[in-house]
Homo-oligomer: 288 residues x 2
């Protein structure tokens, strides 16, 4: 096969995939070629625009490090991460809604005992998180694993600090108690811009978009026999709830931050008066 | 806007682009979002597949260096480079056909006098290239700039050698003489696999494709008032002419490699008997 032009090149590439033995690989490759070529035929890029795209993708890859994932930011800001999340979580009923993982999840977080404080390097306003994990019938899931991470009161995650992975903070792993309850102490996170000093920040600028996410706490909740829920709890009243740069907000994931007046939380844990309370009940669907 | 799901996320991202002031940026961004989301809705990637794609793109970017452009290889092997080339070169008549630039072009090549040898670090079979540059009416274009580069007799470009950019070889820039003629000496290039020790090589493996390109010499020919032609001259008889991994072959770009029996080339240049002759007449269209 030779002499390819705009009318026959797509079919030629598809035919070249006929030797692909893995059916799923062929399906994905074929769809990629069809949609990618259709995109290019629609926009008819100049050669300079093509070179610009090559450069953009190269810089995006080279911006990635142990503590920075620029391609996840790109996926997030193009709505791809939320779409993939939606396609993979067609849960029904009262299961907790899911949202994007984001680029700041770290597998190596500490296991801490219930009630521990997860914030050490910041002195923002005190917060206690009190949650529960149950199945869709309201039965508590004892021992459920709760992984949590969030930004500080200036909007930065631990891994964005100079120390990087060597000083994990505002993230930990907990196991729910025998009643499916968990609680821990931290500081109130702030809204923040996604890291915008790289190619994705430049893209948002060019598209006339702001880079902000409303304040939230990330949760990944899992237990044997149940679907894992990756989600956030957003703080009610944040100015960016309606324009989250990564399209992650769902009404069911917004919680009001209450102020505890006395020295005891609703669930009976000792706190400094004025501590903020974030409470959320997680509901896991049974494994499909 | 909140509560995005697979049915409304695409429209939500498109609406977020409404503040984009540059019309072309908005057009490209909107088309990207529509086609990218359509692709994902068709294949419904698992979260592991999505993470695999993020990893693939990241590794592709991180494979890039001063002498390696893995995203151009990706573009080439998916037929994207040939499609962009076709969309940008709808020339008519007898203009020389174009093909992909490829990842091995280097701007800093040497200016050499006509007749010079461009190959120093290899002792492959001797070749003389004799060409001409004219307009579409057959008038010679005196002083046209000819940039050329090719692989050695083992199929490697200079920049793939250990010395990288510090020892440019088998590439140079020439200016045509007053009759639009140019000639230079080198060695006969071999067919070769594109660099396949990176993510693109793994992709080709997974797709059941070989990584080979038929033997060729690259040319970029330019002159004031004319469209620049980026193309190759392929060597007739190569086993990969019909399955070029980057879809670059056109019949009009294939030339027969003649053997010169005596000590004088057809254009009157002294050669060692047995030298191979590659002759090609380039025709540039007037600037549009």
């Amino acid at each position: 096969m030779r002499n390819f032009n705009e009318d026959n090149i797509t079919q030629a590439v598809l035919e070249r995939l006929s030797g692909c033995e893995n059916e799923r690989t062929r399906q994905i490759s074929e769809a990629l070629v069809r949609h990618l070529h259709a995109f290019l035929k629609e926009i008819e890029p100049t050669e300079a625009e093509w070179a610009g795209a090559i450069d953009f993708l190269t810089r995006t890859g080279q911006m990635c490090s142990e503590t920075r994932q620029e391609f996840i930011l790109l996926s997030d800001t193009l709505g791809v991460s939320m779409l993939v999340d939606a396609l993979n979580h067609r849960f029904t009923g009262n299961a907790t809604e899911t949202t994007v993982l984001g680029p700041f999840y770290v597998e190596e977080a500490r296991d801490l005992p219930l009630g521990a404080s997860i914030s050490h390097a910041s002195d923002g306003p005190a917060m206690i998180v009190e949650g529960s994990v149950s199945d869709q019938h309201g039965e508590p899931i004892a021992g459920a694993l709760i992984e949590t991470w969030h930004a500080d009161d200036h909007g930065f995650y631990d891994v964005q600090r100079e120390a990087g992975l060597t000083a994990l903070d505002m993230r930990a792993r907990f196991h729910a108690d025998e009643n499916g309850r968990f609680w821990f102490r931290s500081i109130v996170p702030a809204f923040y811009p996604i890291p915008n000093d790289g190619p994705v920040g430049k893209m948002l600028d060019a598209q006339g978009r702001h880079p902000y996410r409303p304040a939230h706490v990330h949760f990944k909740v899992s237990a044997p026999g149940f679907e894992t829920i990756v989600t956030h709890v957003f703080i009610e009243g944040d100015r960016y709830l309606d324009s989250d740069v990564v399209f992650g907000v769902k009404d069911g994931l917004i919680a009001r931050l209450e102020t505890i007046e006395g020295s005891m939380s609703p669930a009976g844990h000792e706190v400094t008066p004025g501590t903020a309370l974030l409470a959320y009940p997680f509901v896991l669907p049974a494994k499909r």
